[in-house]
């Protein structure tokens, strides 16, 4: 069980991240088929076969035509025109259309400003823990613009031992409106050290630990950002002295 802990954590994290997707599903089934329609007000709008700029344009809808919005993939929306032709339109093009009230369509593209309204953050990180490769996944909840709480799972795979860590931390970012936003973290958790089979006479050890760190969130685009951090660990052992370790990690995160 402990061996599959990071794996389980990773998928649990992914599931949690999909909160938004499930909410959409729920709406989709419960609020069945309230047609979302928009009218083209620019001279024309292009429909593509798939949700990317690389797919060919197969149809052009003219000014005045009504389009029904069907589904969304990243920044593309599948639409159907009055003659049941289907295609994918970029959200930025749809933002120039009007809805039935005659006003500009209110569809949001995830932007840097959304940091202030979004509450959840999740990410994957890789780096080194005490000069050994570490993989890590985390989920964070933003309590205020400055303060967030997060849970993370890490797996360190060294030549002499395998380490698994689970920890909770508090993060403070003093300048939430900065695109490159530094933060400080403090937290604690559990660390399990399993020596490799070739080293005999060393037993598995499970200790508590505490850590403090600094890092930076660098907003890239849409809903994702790069996160870099350095942490100093203090491991409370049963031996005469405690152990220390330094960790750095780099990863990609998403906010919801």
């Amino acid at each position: 069980m402990t061996r599959s802990l990071p794996l389980f954590g990773l998928f649990a994290g992914l599931l949690l991240c999909s909160r938004l997707a499930f909410a959409d599903w729920w709406n989709f089934w419960s609020d069945q088929m309230v047609e979302q329609k928009v009218q083209v007000v620019e001279p024309f709008i292009e429909m593509r076969t798939g949700p990317a700029a690389g797919f060919p344009v197969v149809h052009v809808s003219e000014k005045g035509e009504w389009l029904t919005l069907l589904k969304r993939k990243t920044d593309w929306i599948k639409i159907m025109d009055a003659e049941d032709r289907e295609g994918w339109v970029a959200v930025e093009d749809l933002l120039l259309t009007h809805d039935a009230t005659g006003k500009q369509v209110a569809i949001t593209e995830p932007r840097f400003d959304d940091f202030r309204t979004r509450r959840w953050e999740a990410g994957l990180q890789m780096g080194e823990f005490d000069s050994t490769a570490v993989n890590s996944a985390y989920v964070a909840y933003w309590m205020t613009a400055n303060l967030s709480a997060e849970a993370s799972l890490s797996q360190v795979l060294g030549n002499s031992s395998e380490i698994q860590m689970a920890s909770l931390s508090l993060l403070h970012q003093p300048f939430p409106s900065w695109r490159y936003s530094p933060f400080f973290s403090i937290g604690g958790g559990q660390i399990d050290i399993k020596p490799k089979a070739t080293l005999i006479s060393v037993e598995n050890s499970s200790n508590s630990m505490a850590h403090a760190g600094i890092g930076m969130r660098c907003y890239v685009s849409d809903r994702f950002f790069v996160r870099l951090e350095v942490k100093e660990y203090k491991i409370f052992t049963n031996e005469e002295r405690n152990e220390e370790a330094t960790e750095w990690k780099l990863g990609l995160s998403v906010f919801f």
């Binding site: 998928f11 076969t49 990317a52 969304r72 993989n135 795979l157």
Partner: protein
């Protein structure tokens, strides 16, 4: 002449003038009235509600194929694949996979020798990777019975990432890179053909070396 014109205008009674005026005024009004629907629809125009648009950025599915485990033959591989699409180009993916390693050539030649126990031959891995859709496109296929040609959206993508492999009594940090071809049968159902190289350091056969393990697999995934 002048008296004739005077006679026409001055001779009109007040009542006749009012009639002419009313008729002239009434004409456009009555035309407009004809265009109005008999029953006015009692529907308020609704603005677009973004939350009612179904988003499909997650992908989840199963994979099966073969993995060549260095020094331990090729084995059947099965597992699961999950992906989250950040933009039309970038995505994150996570994979888990299970296989059972075969025998080394040493074990085969030496006969009754076992280098690692049967239990240690269980090959398990997980990895998380960043992916990039490098070539979106279309594939055209002839229908089997109808003779119609169908167009499917496709993506050719590259992936690179890291994870761990549990094999031969040890759990090792594993880097991976690869490429995939995705065929979207519908907007929500897709088929992947995947090539992936798994690399980790291993010392089971004496000296430490980087083990190269090649995976060829197919995955069937649904978007939600």
């Amino acid at each position: 002449m002048e008296t004739w014109i005077k006679r026409v205008f001055l001779g009109l009674t007040v009542r006749q003038c009012v009639c002419v005026l009313l008729f002239a005024m009434h004409l456009p009004v009555s035309l407009a009235d004809d265009n109005k629907p008999l029953i006015a629809p009692d529907v308020k125009p609704q603005p677009v509600d973004e939350s009612l648009i179904d988003t499909e950025n997650f992908e989840l599915g199963v994979l099966a194929g073969y993995i060549s485990i260095e020094d331990f033959e090729s084995s059947f591989l099965y597992g699961a694949r999950a992906a989250y699409h950040l933009t039309e180009r970038f995505f994150l993916e996570a994979n888990i996979g299970f296989a059972e390693a075969g025998e080394t050539s040493f074990e085969k030649l030496a006969g009754n020798v076992q280098l690692i126990s049967d239990e240690d031959r269980d090959y398990r891995f997980y990895n998380v990777s960043f992916g990039y859709n490098i070539l979106p496109g279309e594939a055209f296929m002839q229908g089997l019975f109808s003779g119609d040609t169908f167009a499917f959206n496709t993506n050719f993508y590259l992936v690179a990432g890291a994870g761990a492999t549990d094999f031969a009594g040890d759990n090792r940090f594993t880097a991976n890179f690869g490429a995939g071809y995705q065929l979207l049968m519908t907007d929500w159902l897709s088929l992947h053909l995947i090539y992936r190289q798994h690399m980790y350091d291993i010392d089971v056969l004496g000296e430490t070396k980087t083990s190269q393990n090649t995976e060829f697999s197919t995955a069937l995934t649904v978007f939600f």
